[in-house]
Amino acid sequence: MNILICISCVPDTTSKISFTDNDTKFNSEGVQYIVGPYEDYALARAVELKEKDNSIHISVLNVGLANNDPLLRKALAVGADDAFRINIFPNNSLHVANQIASFIKENNFDLILMGKESIDFNSAQVHYLTGSILNIPSLSPVTELNLNLKDQKILIKKEIDDGIETLEVVLPAILGCQEPIAEWKIPNMRGIMNARIKPLKVIESFADESKVNFSKFIIPEKKENIKIIDENNINELIKELKLKNL
């Protein structure tokens, strides 16, 4: 059983967001990068499954530049067996999906796990687009994952718009993961030492034509000053909200 985890490398959730070069580029100065929190859940679940069945092989993949390598090493330290980086700056969802799909076509994976969305561009599309390109099922956001390796199937729980659906899926399949699929794992010292000698392969990017371009970034204006209402005067709050069509 081969599992592929596709990770995004994104600014830490507490980062201050700002832009440079006439607001055309993200300002990464002083910003701590992390593995996307949703992909961290996906990786943790894969490692849990491997702990039960050591025949499972876990690969991690990132579409991005060399500054992401330390985060791929971190994924190896958490428990992945090998890592791949497609050496190109990720332009938009379809661009990333095309890169991932081309990689999957050349390799053999039974299960592909991603996060439900990256926390920088939040498009929540890469897993669906990759599934459409490869014509394999893609489901998201998945909150529970169990394997049935004998029948090449998985049993999952997935959020739907008005509840939760339990599904059986014949592999190969792509899942967009979300908590509580697993608890985040922190690499231990042995993992960190092992990660140094695990393979990390850099691949040249696949040909692709992009039609969507994020051309300029804007930080929205801050809210006007807050109006403090006395705790004994709740009617004033109700009146204010009614004025705004409550």
Binding site: D120, N122, L129, V212, K223, I234
Partner: protein, 311 residues
């Protein structure tokens, strides 16, 4: 040039987000087609003209995800549709990306502005969990837009709805390998994503037993209930109520946060709310910096008073 809107109904009536999508479509072109997963009956359809619907694609035969997708593709080509508009939902995120690949139409999600047509299509999209926006340029004559909630005011139109009957065609697809076993509906009348008002509470409430007053307040206001991450992590509330960076991102008209300090990760899930009300006994809670209205006081005093005042 024409526009297709994917519509959602709840108990037979058109959802607010779908009304917004129809209005949005009219800002592109007034020839607006509509489609939905389940067919809507005649009288109901005619009433959709005031929201800006021109023509409804009515499919005959039994609906399945597979045959509907193929028929939609055919209709989009036959009726020369250039633009497709979706209100954002879990289901529509999937349909929109499948269509994008199948039709080779570029796709933009988290859209917060109507498009401008210059040499390229120009649109604004929300990024970094609402902490920033981006101008997006699309180099194509076609595009799919997935809209955030509450980005357009609804105005009324004077259209009479035409109905085009289309029959389903069956094909094989990857969904042949997916089998639904069970669906559990979320309890409560108002879904978090659809709610105009959301009452959210955090660790300040001290324990799950204290959510009774939150639920009572929500009932008085016709609101949905939500919570912060520590609360769902502790199992006080179900995970689907968690709003924030790694939970649901919502944009209601009014968001009332009770006993939530307002960490940046929580704000990421709620910062597109129109009005934010913060109730917290800590005057230094960071949430007050992002609120429109604040009450500094103990939730256990303020909430019962709030409920009584509404009664």
């Amino acid at each position: 040039m024409s526009v297709l809107v994917f519509l959602e109904f709840s108990n037979g009536s058109l959802k607010e987000t779908s009304k917004q999508a129809l209005n949005y479509a009219n800002s592109i072109n007034d020839n607006v087609y509509g489609i939905s997963d389940s067919n809507i009956d005649g009288d109901n359809l005619k009433s959709l003209g005031i929201f800006g619907l021109s023509t409804y694609f009515k499919f005959s035969g039994s609906f399945t995800e597979k045959n509907s997708f193929n028929s939609i593709i055919t209709s989009i080509k036959d009726f020369k549709i250039n633009f497709i508009v979706f209100p954002k939902s879990n289901h529509f995120l999937k349909v929109s990306s499948n269509l994008s690949v199948e039709l080779n139409f570029p796709l933009v999600t988290n859209v917060v502005s109507v498009p401008k047509f210059e040499n390229k299509i120009c649109i604004k999209s929300l990024i970094f969990s609402g902490k920033a926006e981006s101008n997006v340029e699309i180099n194509s004559d076609n595009c799919i837009f997935v809209l955030n909630k509450n980005i357009i005011k609804i105005s009324s139109f004077n259209k009479s709805v035409q109905i085009k009957e289309i029959s389903y065609k069956t094909i094989n697809s990857s969904s042949d390998r997916v089998f639904s076993i069970n669906k559990e509906k979320i309890e409560g009348d108002i879904l978090l994503n659809d709610a105009d008002i959301v009452i959210s509470a955090g660790r300040g409430l001290k324990g799950p037993e204290n959510w009774k007053m939150i639920e009572e307040l929500a009932k008085e206001l016709g609101a949905a209930t939500a919570c912060s991450k520590p609360v769902s992590d502790a199992g006080w509330r179900p995970h689907h109520e968690h709003v924030g960076q790694t939970g649901l991102k919502i944009s209601p008209n009014i968001y009332i946060a009770i006993g939530i300090s307002g960490a940046i990760q929580h704000l990421a899930g709620v910062n597109s709310s129109k009005i934010i009300v913060v109730i917290n006994n800590d005057a230094d809670a960071p949430f007050f910096k992002h609120a429109d209205y604040g009450i500094i006081g103990d939730a256990f005093d303020v909430i019962p008073r709030f409920i009584n005042a509404l009664k």
